[in-house]
């Protein structure tokens, strides 16, 4: 992140009227109270409460950042994604189980066991799974409809790695950036979404 962009983001409070930040409690005060009133537990350390620029801008703008600010930060987020070289299509079968599992990164969980992607919490994917959420768009037949070439693979990989690089205040976690999913796990999910053999595209 460049200094110029940090300043841009920091100055946002002054630029945007925020209905979420009203009355006598300042943004800084609320952040202080949060840090005072939580404690580290298991793998969930206190640094998870440090808002980064994405969280701060989205909080202060009530998830509606000015377009230029959003664009600048999205570009930074995108530039920080370490896209692997070669094919991004992993094993759709492994992706299928990871898409279904909602475990991972919570204070009571064993960090040595792999996290799931929890995709079905928010997305409809394969027709074989009838319990799915609707917070995110349906991804059913995504590969069939949108293609599965290198560009599409890169897009899906990037979206899972860091959704904020594409839509700043998306509600989707940054699975790669936060170390929640490994490179291989993300490739497996890319295959589950795109591979023509995946039940998602049958």
């Amino acid at each position: 992140m460049t200094t110029k962009k940090w300043m841009l983001a920091a100055g946002l409070t002054a630029l945007v009227f925020s209905p979420a930040a009203v009355a006598d409690l300042s943004y800084a005060e609320v952040q202080q109270i949060i840090k005072r009133d939580f404690h580290a537990k298991g793998q969930a350390k206190m640094d998870r409460l440090d808002q980064d620029v994405v969280q701060r801008v989205c909080t202060q703008s009530d998830d509606k950042p000015p377009a230029d600010v959003a664009k600048a930060i999205e570009a930074d987020q995108l530039a920080a994604i370490p896209f692997p070289s070669g094919s991004l299509m992993g094993d759709w079968k492994k992706g299928a189980s990871s898409a279904w599992s909602g475990r991972g990164m919570q204070w009571h969980e064993d960090p040595k066991k792999p996290s799931g992607g929890g995709c079905y919490n928010c997305h409809e994917i394969s027709a074989k799974r009838t319990s799915f959420g609707t917070i995110g768009p349906s991804l059913r037949g995504f590969g069939k409809k949108r293609g599965s070439g290198p560009d599409m693979q890169k897009y899906v990989y990037g979206k899972i790695y860091n959704a904020k690089a594409y839509s700043l205040c998306s509600h989707m976690p940054r699975f790669g950036t936060t170390g929640s999913l490994t490179e291989q796990q993300i490739k497996d999910l890319v295959a589950y979404i795109l591979d023509s053999n995946s039940p998602n595209n049958q």
């Binding site: 109270i33 206190m46 990164m105 204070w107 917070i135 940054r174 936060t178």
Partner: protein, 265 residues
Amino acid sequence: MRATAFVWPLTAAIALATTQVAAQSRFEQYQKMVGEDSPAELFVLVGADLWRKKQGPKNASLERCDLGKGPGVVKGAYASMPRYFKDTGNVEDPETRVLYCMMTLQGRDRKEALKRPFGNADKPSEMEYLMAYLAFESRGYKIHPGKSHPKEKRAYELGKQLFFARTGLWDFSCASCHGTEGLRIRMSDLPVLSKAGPARAAMSTWPAYRVSNSQMKTMQWRINNCYRQMRTPEPNWGSEVVNSMHMYLMVTAEGGTYAGPGTKR
């Protein structure tokens, strides 16, 4: 939760409260059938005994606990909290207040009384039983938390800001899941807790018996559980953050008819 906001028709008066729950759900029939006769009532019975049980260094019961309506008044108290208490100088929700009564009336050590605020199916916690009882004693009362004292206003403001603040490893705010109408996680409908209708349906039915794990769960647990799933560290039990979140939700639900303890997924 809006989706799980049936009202357990124990009495005709309570049944009237169903009229405020207009939300339709594919699980409506399921929730109605599950709620008609709920094990929640068993927790109420045990809680009533615990409320009257003499214990602690002072060998006293909680019967003289002041929940904001004067010592010994439990009727309608749950529905009128959180509120500001002069003796502690804090805004307190029912659980926080009952802990204070355990310490003052029963002479119990905070650490001892708080050793196990959240129980499990095999061994529910004392607090879970007590909340089921206090909730039951507020059935049919209007939800009206404290709103006039400056500290009550501050709690509402803080709760509101917390509700919309992005935090934790996965960038969620409470509003990420509970801020847009018509969404669901897996097959669970998500109530928009920043709106009066769904907030009333949700807040009038906590604490609740959760059929998925056969446990009575309290509001402090519910907030704790949301933060766990938001991948944050753990909020301190009874902290300003938790009490303020509870205040924001109860003020948003103000005017609803309280009908807890509820029964949920």
